[in-house]
């Protein structure tokens, strides 16, 4: 478990995967942050995805996935490395906060800092990359303030709600990572956490 200020990153549970992913994938469509790839998905399909992922390990599947849980025990999404290329020491990040009420409160940023630190300091990766679509301005802002740089813009690389959208690729080299502590200070996460959990206790 990786312990942050607003959230902890914890192992996936099958129950969560089945129930929460079912809820998130079948949310109102405005909440979907996938690359436009969406359709109503059944529990059986999700169960199959879980199975495939579990079997994938035997075939060399290199992904590392965590659930994001707030300090008071609410699971709000997931984050991790969808794929790690250990030869080139590059990891591909992916994240999803399915609970709209937890957008913009620093939860995703806190989780991102934990995963980046884990990837650089424990997995000894030297580069991280991630993709998002042009529409997802919130994700772009988040990763930019954590040190990621825009490296590529694939034109019309996805179709969302009937419109062609660019796909963006971001990258960060280990030397560019300001460090988790520095970013916690810079982004005021400690204050956000104090405020958030003080209100909770009242």
């Amino acid at each position: 478990m990786l312990s942050g200020l607003l959230v902890d990153l914890v192992p996936f549970t099958r129950e969560w995967y089945q129930e929460k992913m079912h809820a998130y994938w079948n949310n109102e469509s405005r909440l979907w942050a996938t690359m436009g790839e969406c359709m109503p998905i059944s529990r059986a399909s999700i169960a199959r995805i879980i199975e495939e992922r579990a079997q994938g390990r035997a075939r060399g599947y290199s992904g590392v996935h965590f659930m994001i849980r707030t300090k008071d025990g609410v699971t709000i999404g997931n984050i991790g490395l969808n794929w790690v290329d250990y030869h080139s020491r590059c990891g591909y990040l992916g994240a999803w906060i399915g609970e709209e009420g937890y957008w913009g409160g620093g939860y995703g940023t806190d989780a991102l800092l934990l995963v980046v630190e884990y990837a650089f300091d424990w997995l000894d990766l030297r580069r991280l990359a991630l993709g998002t679509m042009a529409l997802n301005v919130r994700a772009q802002r988040n990763v930019e303030k954590c040190g990621f740089r825009l490296e590529g813009r694939e034109r019309q690389a996805t179709l969302v709600n009937g419109e062609w959208l660019d796909a963006l690729t971001y990258g960060m080299l280990r030397g560019e990572w300001p460090g988790r502590e520095t970013l916690i200070e810079r982004l005021g996460l400690r204050e956000k956490a104090a405020q958030r959990y003080a209100i909770q206790e009242e």
Partner: protein
């Protein structure tokens, strides 16, 4: 057979399958696939690769040869994404004498033609190692647009090197005929290589 200007597209079998056992272990293959680990491909690996590409519903492996029938290499499209109508393209110039030649460019143009004019794809992706200048030049001449640089993305020969990203939209493609007219392709008149030796078929031993 799909007839191009300097090359023709043919099924990937016979001589191509024999050549592939060499090609898949050579620089052109590793570079085109950004295959940084370059583990050796055994005969079985090569056979399995061809089989897999035959069964691949999201991609294809096509042979391309000079007008005199000399096999040049492989045209590959893969990871076709139905919803977005895009795919990745690569050209393996197996016979290194054709590296940078207009035959290799025509191979790329014919692959683009097939993807846009037959498969009706919307977008093609291509990647290039920054030092693979002949490929980058061919991508540019074909009309591909440089869309980004993934910094130090690949471990390559003791170093970490960038990966260049390119893309081409169907709307930017003037059509093969017009494109070829713009480019005035020149044949390189390379002598055809001797035919590879056919492998002896192992006869079934009576038990």
């Amino acid at each position: 057979m799909l007839e191009g200007t300097l090359v023709d597209l043919v099924p990937f079998e016979d001589d191509f399958a024999i050549y592939l056992e060499t090609w898949m272990n050579e620089e052109a293959w590793f570079r085109a696939h950004v295959w940084e680990r370059r583990e050796p491909h055994t005969e079985d690996d090569v056979k399995k690769y061809i089989e897999n590409m035959e069964k691949n519903e999201r991609g294809g492996l096509i042979g391309f040869q000079a007008k005199n029938g000399d096999p040049i290499g492989a045209l590959i499209f893969d990871h076709e994404w139905t919803r977005v109508r895009k795919a990745e393209v690569r050209v393996v110039v197996g016979d290194s004498r054709y590296e940078g030649a207009d035959e290799a460019l025509d191979g790329l143009l014919m692959l683009v033609r097939y993807c846009f004019e037959t498969r009706n794809l919307h977008r093609l992706d291509a990647v290039a190692l920054p030092f693979h200048e002949t490929w980058i030049e061919h991508l540019r001449r074909a009309g591909f647009v440089h869309e980004g640089t993934l910094r130090q993305h690949i471990r390559w020969d003791g170093d970490y090197v960038d990966l260049e990203m390119f893309g081409l939209l169907q709307s930017e493609w003037p059509g093969y005929v017009q494109k070829v007219a713009e480019l005035s392709l020149q044949p390189s008149d390379i002598e055809p290589k001797p035919k590879p030796e056919k492998k002896e078929q192992k006869e079934a031993q009576p038990s």
